[in-house]
Symmetry: D2
């Protein structure tokens, strides 16, 4: 393990994933936060904007073009999509390693990216160079990457929930369904009528049934795990809670004499942030709130080919900032769990 303190920068630190990075990084013993940027809050003290950080961080926001970014060992982008792709090339040239929490480098195909995000990709030559930052499948490549595309929240929960089945080739690839539910923080920290308390509390709804940007990302990952093209029915829903993703996954086994729970237990036995629950257990999002854990339960009916997999994460941690720090730890040869070993708050 390196004893050098990493100099870290964060671009776009006023969104929920940005401030979650700050919360976790101020407790990370191998990290110094060197610069945080925000065009909207430039020159404001971070702790004035986020009183939860009062006493933990004594920086002011810089603007996005701050030259201090090039002095960092690693820079996190917590920006909306179609932002980081314009800035990352120059930072890579300055030998800064990048972890991009936005969607800009998640899809390997520039045309597909343009289809879903509506603008032409500004750095298509970097798409293949970017490593998809799901450590459970790409740990080796992440350790050597200079550009990591941090996965989306839904793709993390769904992919971790299904990948053992796909790697083993035991399920009907035409049977996959992901009925996914997210807390409202997934919509981000921006004024939007649809995310008001009065619009989202005491109600439940589906959205994006006809197509959601996380669908191609999920299919890309599942296809990689499977070795063949995988499609999936993906329906996201909005839950009146702040944090958490709960994915209820359905699949058909190709034969019924398979011990599925063993497949999961074996696959994840060495993973620090995936816990396979004992038979009969059912996870809830609260038990992972504020943590980097993914908890998975497998429900297999006797003599039936029908499987139900439950996979839960905190969308802002394992689905964003926590996974980004896990990736940073891997990239710099640190113990993978540093800064991420806190129990969830209950209740």
């Amino acid at each position: 393990m390196s004893s050098k303190i990493l100099q870290v920068g964060i671009v776009g630190a006023t969104g929920y994933t940005g401030v979650e990075l700050l919360r976790l990084l101020v407790g990370h013993e191998q990290v110094a936060i060197h610069v945080v940027t925000s065009n909207s809050e430039k020159d404001e003290a971070v702790s004035d904007v986020f009183p939860s950080l009062s006493g933990y961080l004594h920086l002011k926001f810089s603007e996005h073009d701050s030259p201090a970014l090039t002095e960092c060992d690693v820079v996190f982008f917590a920006t909306p999509h179609a932002t980081s792709m314009y800035k990352i090339p120059e930072l890579l040239n300055a030998n800064v390693r990048i972890i991009d929490l936005s969607a800009d480098f998640r899809l390997q195909d520039a045309e597909q990216w343009q289809h879903w995000y509506g603008v032409e990709h500004a750095a298509p030559e970097l798409l293949k160079r970017a490593v998809y930052g799901l450590p459970e499948i790409n740990r080796e490549q992440i350790s050597e990457a200079d550009l990591v595309a941090n996965p989306g929240c839904y793709p993390t929960a769904v992919s971790l929930g299904l990948l053992p089945l796909l790697e083993e080739g035991v399920v009907d690839l035409n049977s996959l369904i992901a009925d996914a539910k997210s807390g409202v923080s997934g919509a981000g920290r921006k004024a939007a009528m649809g995310s008001l308390f009065s619009e989202t509390s005491e109600t439940f709804k589906a959205y994006g049934v006809s197509g959601h940007r996380h669908l191609p990302e999920i299919c890309q990952t599942l296809s990689l795990c499977s070795g063949q093209a995988v499609d999936i029915t993906f329906v996201p829903h909005l839950v009146p809670m702040v944090r958490g993703i709960f994915a209820t996954l359905y699949a058909h086994l190709q034969q019924t004499d398979i011990d599925v729970i063993n497949i999961y237990t074996a696959r994840y036995s060495n993973e620090p942030f995936v816990e396979v629950l004992p038979k009969g257990s059912q996870p809830d999002t609260r038990a992972v709130r504020g943590t980097n854990m993914c908890r998975i339960a497998v429900s297999q009916s006797q003599d039936s080919e029908k499987l139900v997999i439950l996979s839960v994460i905190d969308n802002l941690v394992k689905g964003a900032a926590g996974q980004a720090i896990q990736n940073m730890n891997i990239m710099f040869g640190l113990d993978e769990v540093i800064g991420l070993n806190l129990p969830a708050i209950y209740p």
Copy 2:
């Protein structure tokens, strides 16, 4: 329409379905509430226990054995399961018509009932006489019934969401999945640690994955609609909200050239409490909160056999008390919507 005022009794009026019956019945112009019973609150004024009814109802709770029940035209049972089956026979003998909101007469098979509810059925001879009170399939029989088994909340949302497909025989009967989400009021008004605010807010979970009492009821209804035995994968979840059921239903069409939305629109065109949404719309539970409506949206991918159906109700209204009043209106030849034509509160 009859102009006679119906004398109504409610047994077990201190649960959420009981008080919801009271809220709706005090505004029903053809009804007089004659007697409400509660063993726990006997002799208390109803409006002291439920201040929301202050000014609308001036009765005290009687005990369950109140002789006033036999003076009623109709008695609603809003009791826990394995309660009404002991009392209903004598009331039927007294020519009182019964609407049972509990589970006691929902399953037609006494052995199956015993399997799921854990006690021997006390009145198996009445199981066939009881009419399953889903007006959208049994309106005719309900109008002549003296014993109506009011459907469960999940079965109502799931059955209304799937029955057009099953009646038309257009889907693979092995492909059905109901991913259902309920508000916490579904757990009832009883002290239980699992239903505490601190246990259920800001979290989401599945429960009953390995088997839920509403499953056999759903299968019984769907089999009736289909004309053959139907199984379904049913996973209920708990949402941090008070009211509402949202069922996300998955099915495979047997051929892709079917206009599914037309099937739904035609099937429900004369139903006062089922609204099929236009293409692209997605319902939320808030828009039916406090109302007897079921709102259904159909999502059909082009050239794909995969269907997603969204079906929402208020679990305490169309899933319990409202449907019970709809059944009463039918049984007594009243306009079906009396007492039930109120818009939802928003926000």
Copy 3:
């Protein structure tokens, strides 16, 4: 009572008070909704914007300048402040009676209005003509008014909670404190970061401690009741719920041998929408949710001059749309409770 159907218009019907007016008016048997305006949703069907009204209202939104407004018997303004004052004069000239739910005509002093609302008043000559629409103090004047200024939500809860004490002259006027709590819907239906679910759920805060626009309105009303200038310490707070205002009011009696609860009971004995609770009762906001009731509890310590008064309303009903309809009923000689006699939803 008049049997003529009133033609009603609503200007600015896409806010929460506007849609609440619609919810209540569609059930009002003496009213026809003639025109509803919204510049943002012009030409959209009302029920597309507000699915809770689907089946109850078949209008489209008109623009604010719709000539149909002059065809109305009464027009409600549910606009932001500094809007209605530009339009009301011409409607008054067209003999349309006005109920203004905004703040434009609540303060009688144009300079004070300008101080708190930041713009010069456009129709200062109408300030004296406007009647402050709190029926419990101004019923007579309301019945003859052509311009009613509907009170704010906080002023309604606080004024009804304190006015019996001030009319009787039994409290120290320097001792008054209103610690008031409001649900988030009070912030309106507009995109604002501070009202996001993720910002307002699972937290509690005060706001406007140094000065809130409802303070001068409260003081004006209390001074009127008292006959002398009254000041009050007013601290509003934000509660993570959608609807409801809870005002905890503190005052010092000038002598301890006064039976305060009798003062309240006598004062409100004929008021249809104020209920004084029996000794020892404590109200909650849920029991008035969706209703026009104000429920008040008085807590008086033995041998002590210290009083605690609890006053609760639904901010969107008695605090806005319901009180506006109550005013309309009074203005047109209708039974005061028409359209407003629905019990609260529980739970």
Copy 4:
């Protein structure tokens, strides 16, 4: 600082304060959790009952009479009232130091205790020996105590909010009001109908207006600070959120030329867990959620004797488990902030 690892026991670790102790203690580098007891969950793995602790604690629950308690350096009692007073004497005799989070040793007067808690005190001789564990006033005595009575949640928020005024003698002692609001977790982890989600969400209420057990505790502390008997009007309210206490405090200055904020800033300048906010700031409970901080804002009107003080804490941390650990750190000569220096989760 001692480098010895403290052996810690917790009696009654299945309540919310007990599990919060566990969450904080598993991250405390100077502590080993030796034994946790629960009669209801005896022999269950702690992490099975509380999955949030999975991976952090590998103990099973022992019964309350476990002899392992006497092997501890310090034992925390997180039991309901009238429990610890029967067990503490024998542990003190075994030279175990005690931090009692229950109410049993908070009041110094046995008769007053009996009046409020309804049973005779079992160990009145220990009442004077017990040190009231509010470090901001009793740090010295705590460091030498073998029995610390950890303050209640409301008394912590109210006392910290008022004590600078009382110590300085600048306010009218007859003017004090504490309008306090608590999250639902304050009602504890026990099945109770009043704490159900369906009963407490989307509503706000006062309770205990006529007398709450925390009132004598508050008066005892304030009188100690003031040097004379202090009474206060205390009205607690229930907020639909899990964690947090918000106290809005009102007082009259005896003269208006006092710079109150300076008094607070000076008083708390060396306190690690009290932060006085700059003028114009207003705290919210979220910014202290999960932390041991008390944040205080002072609002002083110009030329007015009226003061408003806002004081916020997390009821389970500074109001219970966190303050208990702060006390433990002081008792054993550790750095006071160990185990307690984590930023709040936001959002």
